[in-house]
Amino acid sequence: MDVIWQGVKEGFFLILSLDQELVSITVLSLQVSLTALFIAAFLGIPVGAALALKKIPGKKMILNIIYTFMGLPPVLAGLLVYLFLSSRGPLGEYQLLFTPTAMIIAQFLLALPIVAGLSARAVMTQRQEVYDTAVTLGATRRQAVWAIIRESRLGIIAAITTALGRVMAEVGAVMMVGGNIKGKTRVMTTSIVLETRMGNDSTAIAIGIILLSISFLITFFIIALEKRSFKDDSSIHIV
C-alpha cells in the first residue's frame, strides 16, 4: 500500500514540477495517439457507414473480420509493422523504424477496426424512419444518408473514445516499433514498463496517474461536445 500512496504523491509532485523529460514523453504520447486516432476516424467512420448502409457483396464476412481485428493483440500489430519497416523488410528503404511515424502506423492499425466496426454498429441501429422522414422532408438521397450518420453520432463518439482508450493504453506495439528510445520514441506506457522493470514502482504509478488524468480530460472534452450537440432532449427520463 505504501508504494501506491507514494506513487500518488510522487505523481502530483512530478506534475507540479513539470519535469522536462516527463513533459516531452507526455507530448509525444499525445501526438502519436491522437494522430493515429484522427487518421483512423477519417477512414474508419466512412468505411463503417458504408458497410452499414450499402449493399456490398460479402458484407457479413467483412464485418466479421473487422470485429475480429478489434481484438488484434498490440504486440502482433507491432510485429507486423516491424517486419514491414525493418531494414530487411519491404519498406525498409524509408528508414521509418524506431520513429514516431512507425508508432502512429501501428496504433492506426489498432484503432481502425474499432472505429469502423463500432461506427457500422451505430449506423445499423438507426431505423428506416430516419431515412424516410428525411426524404419526405425533401432531402436528396445524399442528405438523407447524412441525416442517418448524424443521428448515429452518439455511437460514433463512443467508437472514437473506445479507440482512444485502446491506443493511449497500448504498450506492446509502440515498444516494438518505437523502441522506447529516450528522448525520441519513449512514451508514457513504455516508461511505465521501464520504470517497473527497474523496480521504481512509485514512478511507474505516478506516470500511470498522469496518463489516466489526460485520458479523463480528453474524454471529458468529448462528452462536453456531445452534450452540447444533443442539448438535453435525447436523454431518457424514467418516471
Partner: protein, 278 residues
C-alpha cells in the same frame, strides 16, 4: 424456452471456469515443493536454466517457477518477499540487498563476459581492441551510433561504470538509450547499424539472425559474476527457505558446476559461462 436454454449454457460455462479456478487453488497446498526464482532476462535468454532446472527438480523434488525480469526488479521482488531466491549479476546491488537484511546465504555461481559488437565496416576503428576503455573512447570521439540498454539492468550498470572510467558522460544523437531487454537491444542495434555492449550468451544465440560482429572483447573489466541469494526467512516467514537453500547448495556443487562449464560448447562452439563457486 430458448432463453432458458441460453441461461443454462451461461451457467455451464461459468461453472467450468469456477472448477478450473478451484483446481488452481488446490495447487497452493503444494507450495512447499514450489520454489520461486527471480532472475534476469539475460539468464533466461541464455537457455542455461532450461538445462539446469529439470536436473535440480529430479535431484531434490523442488519445482521452480522462473520469473525473468530486469536486475532492479528481481531485487525488488526479493525485497518484497514475492520470490524465494534470486539469481542476478550486479555485485554492488547484491551486497546492498544482503546488507539491508533482505537476503542471506549469498554464493558466487559463475561468470560470463561481455563484448562490444558493431557494424562490419567498423566506423570507430575498434576491431580487435582488447582495452574496452579505449574502444568506448573511440566510439564517443567518432560519434558512432551506440545503443545503450538504459534500463538500470546489470548490463546497463556495467556500461555506465565503463563510461565513468572513460571520463565521458555519453549524450547526443549518437547515444541512444532504449530501455529494453538484451535481445530487443541487439535487434535494435542491428537495425540502426550501431555498436552495443552485449553479454556473450545473448550474442552467440542470436548472431546468425543479425549482421553485427564482435569489435572489442577480452578485457577483464567485461567479466560479469553471477550470485545466488536466498530471501531472508526472518523477514518473510512464507518464503520457501528450505527450497532456496537446496537450490543454492545444488548450484555450487560439482554436478551443476560441471553442467555450467560445458553448457553451449556442443551447440555454439564455445562455453557461455565459467563456473566459479568455491
Amino acid at each position: 424456452m430458448k432463453k432458458n436454454r441460453f441461461i443454462w449454457l451461461v451457467a455451464l460455462v461459468m461453472s467450468l471456469f469456477l472448477l478450473t479456478a478451484c483446481g488452481q487453488a488446490a495447487d497452493q497446498d503444494e507450495q512447499n515443493t514450489l520454489l520461486k526464482l527471480a532472475t534476469t532476462t539475460s539468464t533466461e535468454d541464455s537457455g542455461l536454466l532450461d538445462v539446469l532446472l529439470p536436473e535440480f527438480t529430479a535431484d531434490t523434488g523442488f519445482e521452480v517457477d522462473v520469473i525473468a525480469v530486469g536486475t532492479g526488479q528481481a531485487i525488488v521482488l526479493g525485497e518484497n518477499g514475492d520470490v524465494d531466491v534470486i539469481l542476478v549479476h550486479a555485485r554492488a546491488a547484491e551486497d546492498a540487498f544482503v546488507a539491508g537484511g533482505h537476503g542471506v546465504d549469498r554464493k558466487d555461481v559463475m561468470y560470463n563476459d561481455f563484448l562490444i559488437i558493431g557494424p562490419a565496416n567498423d566506423p570507430a576503428g575498434i576491431k580487435g581492441e582488447t582495452n574496452v576503455i579505449t574502444a568506448l573512447q573511440k566510439i564517443a570521439q567518432t560519434e558512432s551510433v551506440f545503443v545503450s540498454r538504459g534500463d538500470n539492468s546489470g548490463t546497463h550498470i556495467m556500461e555506465q561504470n565503463l563510461w565513468n572510467e572513460v571520463g565521458i558522460e555519453p549524450q547526443g544523437e549518437w547515444y541512444r538509450e532504449v530501455g529494453q531487454g538484451m535481445g530487443e537491444t541487439f535487434r535494435m542495434a542491428d537495425e540502426m547499424v550501431a555498436y552495443t555492449l552485449i553479454d556473450r550468451a545473448t550474442y552467440l544465440f542470436n548472431r546468425d539472425n543479425y549482421t553485427l560482429e564482435p569489435a572489442a572483447e577480452g578485457d577483464e573489466r567485461l567479466f560479469n559474476p553471477y550470485g545466488v541469494i536466498a530471501v531472508n526467512p526472518d523477514k518473510y516467514d512464507h518464503v520457501n527457505y528450505d527450497g532456496a537453500v537446496a537450490f543454492i547448495e545444488w548450484l555450487v556443487y560439482d554436478k551443476a558446476q560441471k553442467m555450467i562449464e560445458v553448457y553451449g560448447v556442443d551447440e555454439l562452439g564455445q562455453a557461455l559461462f565459467v563456473p566459479n563457486a568455491e
